[in-house]
């Protein structure tokens, strides 16, 4: 009984909790290696076969979803198409700079500047717009906290 009490007391130390959490997480992740992978074949966001667009010498590979802006819809699937009436309309939009880069190199799609400015990822910005709002708020809160701590615990520390 005494040892159980000692165990609980050691768990009450905040420094022990991250280690315990990491241990449990490690056990679960290792156990996860033995779980059979049963992937769903009817994926909501379809992708072309790997290397298919690259072998076809498509400069937008692997992000080419086809379509002409406002004329022909690109291939974008939504979970609820009834809530996204204009889906696919601007999937193929490229900015003038993007068009000039696309014409000079075959590797535009895999370049770091291709997305999201040049090639609009409509899955992200149209069907899942609220997620992008939340992601930026998470980032903003992280910066608010970091700058507050930097200001008040380093620069203004002498004021007290």
């Amino acid at each position: 009984m005494k040892s159980i009490g000692r165990l609980w007391n050691s768990l009450a130390n905040p420094e022990k909790i991250p280690r315990l959490f990491a241990l449990i997480l490690g056990i679960v992740l290792i156990a996860g290696l033995f779980i059979p992978l049963a992937l769903d074949n009817q994926q909501l966001y379809p992708r072309p076969a790997p290397q298919e667009q690259i072998n076809a010498q498509d400069p937008l590979a692997p992000y080419d979803r086809g379509g002409i802006p406002f004329e022909e819809r690109g291939i974008v699937k939504a979970q609820y198409p009834q809530y996204a009436p204009a889906i696919g309309e601007i999937t193929a939009y490229l900015s003038p700079i993007a068009i000039s880069v696309k014409n000079t190199t075959l590797y535009y799609g895999t370049s770091i500047y291709s997305s999201p400015g040049g090639l609009i990822d409509e899955i992200l910005y149209y069907t899942r717009g609220f997620d992008t709002v939340l992601e930026s708020s998470i980032l903003m809160m992280a910066f608010v906290i970091a700058s507050w701590i930097a200001l008040n615990f380093t620069m203004r520390r002498d004021d007290e």
Binding site: P18, V28, Q79, S137
Partner: protein, 226 residues
């Protein structure tokens, strides 16, 4: 709307593209609670503690300057709004993002107290929150891979449960536990609730309680033990 989730009828939905917020009696109540508490936090003033002086009969009031509690009140309001959003969202990835926002704001609330002990606890809590983002998003990704959808309304209508969905649920549980579940522990260990100007920090307790209840609802929806 004739969709039933865990025995309660859907009252209404807010469609934002693929992300659908839905209301049932159960999560509407939790949503209203979170919003009401956030409103109280937004208008409340800080507590002033009165300490007895040693050796004399005088009292000493310990107050917190407005400059210091402003940031904590701001973070507490964001925490309340994120909790309220997590209550009604009908999208698994959206839920994990709300939880992540709550977690990072909790770190800020714990870390914005100008005491060394509290900052030490906030550092440890930050370590856990960093580790927990892996199982949080990894669990949601595994459930997406196993079911092919992120919408809770669609997952609710599935008739099967694969081992991969159970693994994803366990990871999701670990992630939520690490992001917000352990926050009250660190706040209490650092004696934050006895530091002057603290009462509205109780939003940490409320958010972790509500999010855990909501997580259990989501896990029941995914795994369908009944």
């Amino acid at each position: 709307m004739d969709i039933t989730i865990l025995g309660s009828q859907i009252i209404g939905i807010i469609p934002l593209g693929d992300i659908v917020f839905y209301f049932t009696q159960f999560n509407l109540f939790m949503f209203a609670t979170a919003l009401a508490f956030t409103a109280i936090v937004a208008i409340s003033k800080t507590e002033t503690q009165v300490e007895a002086e040693f050796g004399k009969l005088g009292d000493r009031a310990v107050t917190v300057a407005k400059k210091e509690f402003k940031i904590r009140r701001f973070l507490a309001i964001i925490c309340g709004l994120a909790t309220a959003g997590a209550m009604i969202t009908g999208d698994l990835f959206d839920f994990t993002l709300f939880v992540c926002l709550t977690g990072i704001v909790n770190i800020g609330i714990v870390g914005a107290v100008r005491q060394v002990d509290v900052l030490d606890a906030a550092y440890q809590y930050g370590l856990i929150a960093m580790m927990a983002s892996l199982p949080l998003f990894g669990g949601a990704a595994l459930i997406l891979a196993a079911t092919g959808t992120l919408s809770l309304l669609e997952i609710n209508s599935l008739t099967y449960t694969t081992p991969m969905m159970i693994l994803g649920s366990i990871l999701l549980f670990l992630g939520v536990a690490g992001e917000t579940g352990v926050a009250p522990f660190f706040a209490t260990k650092a004696e934050m609730f006895r530091t002057p100007g603290s009462p509205f920090l109780l939003i940490i307790h409320l958010s972790s309680l509500l999010i855990l209840v909501r997580l259990i609802e989501i896990l029941l929806m995914i795994n369908k033990p009944f």
